[in-house]
């Protein structure tokens, strides 16, 4: 089982959390909070942990830091951190086992794929919105997409 420790980046300062209290080897969990972001802090934490689970950087059974520990490390309030964890739990990404801690939940591969497809769709919808603002038609946008795809091959 892996125990995760946050790596902190606040206002551009970068520091690595040293795992001193736990005997378990702590693995880095990257969370970057921006004060300038229009997204509330709880949302930023939520998105980043979710993204790390979806990308497989965090896997089933990995232990997350406790709410209070993460709050302290990120220098944010306990309530904010709690809210992120509660939301992640509602979405089925993590489980809290009373007295033991919070763990990355088992992910159903199909469900996971569906979620990731949804994320792709959302990004594309964003691109379409932007394209509309610039009067870029669907053919032109499709061409751009095709070129981007080709670039990586």
């Amino acid at each position: 089982m892996r125990v995760l420790a946050p790596i902190l980046c606040i206002d551009g300062m970068y520091s690595r959390y040293a795992a001193a209290e736990s005997t378990e080897p702590e693995l880095p969990m990257r969370i970057v909070i921006s004060n300038a972001s229009p997204d509330p802090i709880y949302e930023q934490i939520l998105q980043q942990i979710r993204a790390q689970i979806l990308s497989g950087e965090l896997s089933e059974g990995d232990q997350l830091p406790s709410i209070r520990k993460l709050a302290r490390d990120l220098q944010i309030s306990v309530i904010t951190t709690k809210r992120s964890y509660e939301e992640l739990e509602r979405e089925g990404f993590i489980n809290t086992v009373g007295g033991k801690g919070t763990f990355v939940a088992a992910q159903n591969p199909e469900f996971l794929r569906e979620k990731r497809m949804k994320a792709v769709e959302e990004r594309l919808a964003e691109a379409v919105d932007q394209a509309r603002l610039l009067n870029v038609g669907s053919d032109e946008l499709a061409e751009m997409l095709r070129l981007l795809y080709a670039e990586d091959e």
Partner: protein
């Protein structure tokens, strides 16, 4: 919420002085959280803290800490509180270590190792006499004293005034460290609102002796906003909607506690942003006028 789970439960508290009245203040702080107390000078922040400690007598209402009445169970309540006043006062000619050893017997849970550890960390000159300390050092000393007897509720009155940003960060980290124990709660007043913006779970805003709100910081951050626009855009209806307006020659700034509704109401040409605690403190209750104040 179960009342026993509140570190602090204030209900309808009043205090009348010549020229100042604290009106009917109620708030709750659940165990395990940090509450920030904000408000301009003269809002009643220090009065409220002094009432909690029964340093002044309340004229009405009730104050409970850990479910205990702060007057009936005064000795027990006080033994479980750590207090850092805005102007720490101790015997001016006593040295810091003399002061510590004279206070220690009053607390059943006094932890001398912890005190020595904090004194070392804050670089307190234990042999120096109290009156020789700078303001920042006096605060650090009061803080070391407040954190050395296992307090379950730590009250700090303007602790960050006179401290440099490095120590302010350190203080906030230390408070978060205390909260690793879920029974410990912190209430601190400050007009350096940036300190509270991120660290506080709850915020209580007092103005002119009245409670404006006491709510979770997240809600404050999500609901309060600042509306900006040209002077000519500020009609009577807009004025009535806003909870404070400042008018300048080049435009106006207005405060709202309903940012979503403001976004629907005020259309193009207006700028609508989230309000910081400072925006709220500065703009709340301000009557719009053409004066440059």
């Amino acid at each position: 919420m179960n009342r026993m789970n509140n570190a602090l439960d204030i209900e309808g508290v009043c205090k009348r002085y010549e020229g100042f009245t604290l009106h009917d203040v109620s708030l709750q702080l659940p165990r395990g959280y940090i509450m920030g107390l904000i408000g301009p000078n003269g809002a009643g922040k220090t009065t409220l803290i002094k009432l909690m400690l029964n340093l002044i007598r309340r004229d009405g209402g009730a104050i409970r800490m850990f479910g205990l009445d702060n007057l009936e169970d005064e000795a027990e309540v006080k033994s479980r509180i750590g207090f850092v006043p805005d102007e720490p006062r101790y015997h001016p000619d006593a040295s810091l270590s003399e002061l510590a050893s004279s206070v220690a017997p009053f607390y059943a849970n006094w932890d001398d190792d912890r005190f020595r550890h904090l004194a070392g960390e804050f670089e307190l000159p234990l042999k120096k006499r109290f009156k020789k300390l700078s303001h920042g050092m006096k605060t650090k000393f009061a803080l070391a004293m407040a954190l050395s007897h296992g307090a379950e509720l730590v009250l700090l009155d303007e602790p960050t005034t006179g401290l440099d940003p490095v120590f302010r960060r350190r203080l906030l980290d230390m408070l978060a460290g205390l909260l690793q124990d879920e029974r410990v709660s912190v209430l601190f007043s400050s007009h350096i609102t940036a300190d509270l913006e991120r660290a506080a779970d709850f915020v209580t805003f007092l103005k002119d002796g009245r409670l404006v709100f006491s709510s979770p910081m997240d809600q404050v951050a999500e609901n309060w906003g600042v509306v900006k626009g040209g002077q000519e855009m500020l009609d009577a209806e807009a004025h009535a909607f806003l909870q404070g307006v400042r008018v300048r020659r080049h435009g106006f700034e207005g405060l709202t506690s309903r940012i979503d509704e403001a976004r629907r109401r005020f259309g193009n040409g207006f700028v609508i942003e989230r309000a910081s605690l400072e925006d709220i403190m500065v703009l709340f209750g301000k009557e719009g006028s053409n004066h440059e104040d």
